[in-house]
Symmetry: C2
Subunit: 408 residues, 2 copies
Amino acid sequence: MLEVQSAAQVLQLIAERLRPLGADERPLPLAQAVGRVSAAALFSAEDIPAFDRSTVDGYALRAADSYGCSEALPARFKLLGAVEMGADSAYAVGEGEAVYVPTGGVIPAGCDAAAMLEYAEEPGDGYVYIRKPVAPGNNLIYRGDDISAGAMLLPAHTRLHAHHIGLLAAAGITELDCLRLPRVAIISSGDELIPPGEQPAIGQIRDVNSHFLAAALRARGIEAKLCGIVRDDYQALLQASAQALAKADMLLISGGSSVGVKDNTARVIEALPGMRLLVHGVAVKPGKPTLLGVSDDNKIVFGLPGHPLSAYFIYLLFVEAALARLSGAPAVPPARRTARMAVNYPSNSGREEYVPVTLSDVDGQLTARPIFAKSGLIGLLSAADGYIRISREQEGAAKGQAVEVTLF
Amino acid sequence: MLEVQSAAQVLQLIAERLRPLGADERPLPLAQAVGRVSAAALFSAEDIPAFDRSTVDGYALRAADSYGCSEALPARFKLLGAVEMGADSAYAVGEGEAVYVPTGGVIPAGCDAAAMLEYAEEPGDGYVYIRKPVAPGNNLIYRGDDISAGAMLLPAHTRLHAHHIGLLAAAGITELDCLRLPRVAIISSGDELIPPGEQPAIGQIRDVNSHFLAAALRARGIEAKLCGIVRDDYQALLQASAQALAKADMLLISGGSSVGVKDNTARVIEALPGMRLLVHGVAVKPGKPTLLGVSDDNKIVFGLPGHPLSAYFIYLLFVEAALARLSGAPAVPPARRTARMAVNYPSNSGREEYVPVTLSDVDGQLTARPIFAKSGLIGLLSAADGYIRISREQEGAAKGQAVEVTLF
């Protein structure tokens, strides 16, 4: 029999025992890659920009020719013409000559700086007069200044944000290999459960866990496979679990909460091919009866508590950590806010405790009020804005104390 | 000519001038509703739970019969049988009688409490012995305790998180009306731009903005319509914009950065049917040349800077605010971290300044290091973990100073 483990121990197990998944079979079009994780490092095949480029609207010239000029004594440059946006420059600029360049335009051969329009005058005599000297390199980007050919754009296992997509577009990368998304299967177990669309008889309740778990996964870009409700029977649960896990990397069994069901799930995890039960109980509140099994071929099974509130915290704490590990990169971190406790919240459970709170503005101060929910209530949870964590060492949170609220 | 406005003024305009969109034509299946915004308040048609329910594995009984019992002197109850999970109870429990109930099982008629298994013994003589008294209501949830029939489950315009989906499933709500997602069209304008899949000639660069904007929107659940690259020509831009906006709630025109292009976009916004140019320049760095137009029929056009870095900040600051307003509920807030500045970052631009930073651990302290990117560079941005904001009143951020880093 395994001992109850701390949350930190369970997270450590997840980090150690799971490996990132392999790459998708096919490369992904760039447009679909946001939120996904790159399979390999990506390099630029070219210099970006591919040409010396002005960063201002102004005049390309030789910086040395502007030295000493001032408001009182402008430097005079023979105006050869103008660079067109998107076109190469045909000009070769010599001493005392200049060419108009728009922002982003090609800096013509012979120039090493651009003077800003604001400090120039073009009276129409074929010359432009510059009132402020520039130094070599002023107001331009040299070829390859941004990214040089061969440079690494992104390391392997980067979770792709919008700005990464922009970078890849700039380098002409229109598709890329990404790590495969975890395939997740969900089973709800319990004789009392019916699908949400059905009307419960006395003694029955609707299956909540399958649906909020699927929703949480969907919000992470994962379409989970709902494997339905399985009666509280060892053989039935084993068969359904084996079938679900054959086509999944992760199986979430959210058990009923009776002793019998909990035992069933633990036995099923032990009986699944290659699966080892590594966690049987976690010292967190709520969520103590959590189970976790990992197989040598990188599959993971969670036995989640039946209470939706407990299952939700276990999802947030451990399932997301396992998903991140499989996906190859840390998850997008949740938002947190610092708030003051509205009331005393005593805690002496000897377990790490997670407490849902509402947030409100009290006299200009963000204030957290714990929701004292009876076990199994979910109505109040809908009003919760997030949760606070009380470590095993703390004896609660005192009124007025600053707490970190992780937002849902 | 409009004056340059502050970021706060622009956000105020967005809040005042835009309205939430209407509901989708059809209700959305619950499974697809996560991240969406509810169109109307939702109420429970039933009591949840629909029956008095045990929260423990134990024995349902009359609390009064347990009074005075102790370890030394257990109270004896005649055991009538066991409640089955998912089934109604046929028992009527009288004085000195008890029935076994699993967690979540029906509390039989006549009972007002459940005693926990841990404090009970069943020696097999047809009786159960209870060693700890219980009070009425202990270890059970009464019918409707969680949610009573007619109670509001969620107010209108709730952004639906996973736990909301769970709540709706519990109440038997399998589909619901949601506010329509904003339809967003994107145009990139500039003679120098080519699609990412093409090879640039000298003078040309690839269109970055369309693609990172689409990616950012996709990460928010919005599939934007890419309307391609439009040459820097007033008539062409007007025609493309009018066409794009006819089928969209929001149009993002990311302009080239030359003076000519900027003027074109402003004139186009003014010429679009019913559209009023409300913002022509924002006192933020980067991103000053931002344009914003709103029409009476609740459409919005942004003229974004051509520089990807500038366009990205304007997206984060203003486009997301406008999307949230149209979507009917605040956006999911970004994560923030407090860090120490690794170096001095002077700023005296007279504008609110947004500075990309990398985060790293220096001697156990989360440390932010500004990325000093030349205008138009995007290579370095890929390494950025987030950004800091320097208000107009601040003169930069000093080395060692605590700063709030908003994560990308």
